[in-house]
């Protein structure tokens, strides 16, 4: 266990030093957040009765999404890991007396957490200062916030597991770009990254919510804004637990299969 903590610590510390990347990401996320809110406001003004969320809840959803993007997007899967597989430096990783899956899982989780920490504090402060209905509102009550926190952790666990499956596939494909592009596109759309899931047609939303992608950003962001509550919330949190277990199991199975066949190319 201690070695995994050491991994987390070093990767976390390393993530904290990329200040310029964090600043750049922050600016980009503010811009994107503002644009998204303006666009949704236009929809809202056209026909408020057809709008499936309240406007303040919508704004909170967008700001939280932008602030936590680094933690919850499949996109921020560990590029380092892919590079290592592609360049063959992965040879060294295989010479270590640790489980490869565990080691990389922890590393990726740490890089997500440190990147998000750098970005989310300033983003949340500024978003909270923006007046309603465009700013980040406080959660309805403490209990909701606790459910949000739990679901956030689960979402990070699930999204890291998705990233690991992509990494394991990279062992097979030589170049990581294709799988990664496809995975990011699919996951972004089905986790409500482009349009929140409540905006999907009813039937599509019901199916989408069962997918592993919905068990990432979708659940915590909607709990926070009060859009998701009661039995439906409990069901989706349970589904998050299920996907966390299932995806980690699949990743480990892939690890076991791939490591038997891996060939580190080049002298």
């Amino acid at each position: 266990m201690k070695k995994y903590i050491a991994f987390f610590r070093l990767r976390f510390a390393m993530g904290l030093q990329y200040r310029a990347a964090a600043l750049g990401g922050l600016v980009c996320q503010f811009f994107w957040g503002a644009m998204a809110i303006l666009a949704f406001k236009a929809f809202h003004d056209t026909d408020p009765s057809a709008f499936p969320m309240s406007l303040p809840a919508m704004s909170s959803y967008i700001w939280l999404q932008q602030a936590l993007l680094h933690l919850l997007s499949v996109m921020s899967m560990d590029g380092e890991l892919m590079d290592m597989i592609q360049s063959g430096n992965v040879a060294y990783e295989l010479c270590r007396p640790v489980g490869v899956y565990n080691m990389w899982y922890i590393k990726n989780l740490a890089s997500r957490a440190s990147g998000a920490l750098l970005r989310c504090i300033p983003a949340l402060i500024v978003a909270a200062l923006i007046p309603a209905p465009f700013g980040l509102m406080a959660p309805p009550d403490v209990i909701t916030f606790l459910w949000f926190a739990l679901s956030l952790v689960l979402a990070a666990v699930v999204v890291t597991a998705i990233g690991m499956i992509v990494a394991m596939i990279t062992f097979h494909t030589v170049s990581p770009r294709g799988v990664r592009l496809i995975a990011v596109g699919i996951a972004d759309f089905f986790s409500g990254g482009i349009v929140p899931l409540p905006f999907f047609p009813e039937a599509v939303r019901r199916v989408t919510e069962l997918l592993p992608f919905s068990a990432t950003a979708n659940v915590p962001l909607r709990i926070y804004s009060g859009d998701l509550h009661g039995g439906e919330m409990l069901f989706l949190i349970a589904l998050q637990v299920f996907w966390a277990v299932a995806l980690i199991a699949v990743g480990r199975l892939l690890e076991w299969k791939e490591l038997k066949n891996v060939v580190v190319q080049g002298g």
Binding site: M14, L94, P97, K260, N261, V262
Partner: protein
């Protein structure tokens, strides 16, 4: 210490002629060629030996090292290092070995070298006392005190290689695999690395297997050499066996490659 018997490994390599037409053809039908990287090699190496593993490019040297260090599974054959089969008991096996791949890096690129060392301490669960002792010894002999606080990306190749070697020895491995450890190094760094490997072997009794194209490395380090070509062992003996007196070591080896037609 190390027993290798009839090890075989075949790779499938895609081939095609140059040109656009050929590339289109390869879309539908790809021709593969089987390369016998290792075609039944056997040798045994005793405790505390220092062996130079030489051969022309593509002879199968790196494949052998990869199998011995547990990251490549051979098609057939037996191999034990300290009684364990590397690819079957990977985690237990790698605790006992140190590996330096001259062409790759194990240091974390963006953080000071010492952070990578600290991480290795946790990964190998090295007791604090042992770690401290080894670190100060390695720091002194390899002259690392000034460079361990620098991020790995800002080190010169020679400085980095010294750190790579130190990183591979922090956990007191019984066997050390060096895959082209002096590649790209200047004369001073080369001498320092050679000197260090020699001392390590003498003082700690570490078994060393070294692949290199630099025959001075072999001359300085290895009492025994194993020559491999086209996936087979061609010669296993001492340096004096192949020397015919007088001439330069590079010429001797080139002559040898010619003789075996590899």
């Amino acid at each position: 210490m190390i027993e290798v018997k009839d090890l075989k490994k075949t790779f499938k390599v895609a081939r095609r002629e140059a040109g656009f037409g050929e590339a289109v053809k390869a879309l539908f039908h790809r021709e593969y060629e089987l390369i016998h990287a290792l075609d039944g090699i056997s040798f045994s190496i005793g405790d505390g030996e220092m062996v130079g593993y030489i051969g022309p490019n593509g002879a199968g040297k790196s494949s052998t090292i990869k199998i011995l260090s547990g990251i490549l599974t051979p098609d057939s054959g037996l191999c034990t290092v300290g009684g364990r089969t590397p690819w079957k008991e990977r985690r237990a096996h790698v605790k006992e070995i140190g590996v330096v791949f001259g062409q790759r890096s194990q240091l974390w690129w963006d953080v000071p070298v010492i952070d990578s060392f600290e991480l290795l301490k946790e990964i190998y669960t090295i007791p604090a006392g042992t770690y401290k002792k080894n670190l100060s010894e390695l720091t002194e002999i390899l002259d690392l005190s000034k460079i361990v606080k620098t991020p790995a990306r800002q080190l010169s190749l020679g400085q980095r290689m010294r750190c790579e070697i130190a990183a591979s020895l922090l956990h007191d491995p019984k066997v050390l695999f060096l895959d082209e450890p002096t590649i790209g190094l200047d004369a001073v760094s080369k001498l320092a690395v050679r000197d260090f490997i020699k001392r390590r072997n003498k003082d700690h009794g570490t078994t060393v297997i070294l692949t290199t194209h630099d025959m001075q490395d072999i001359e300085a380090l290895a009492s025994r050499i194993i020559l491999i070509g086209k996936g087979r062992i061609l010669l296993d003996g001492t340096l004096d066996d192949i020397r015919r007196g007088g001439e330069h070591i590079d010429e001797t080896v080139a002559e040898l490659y010619k003789k075996f037609d590899v």
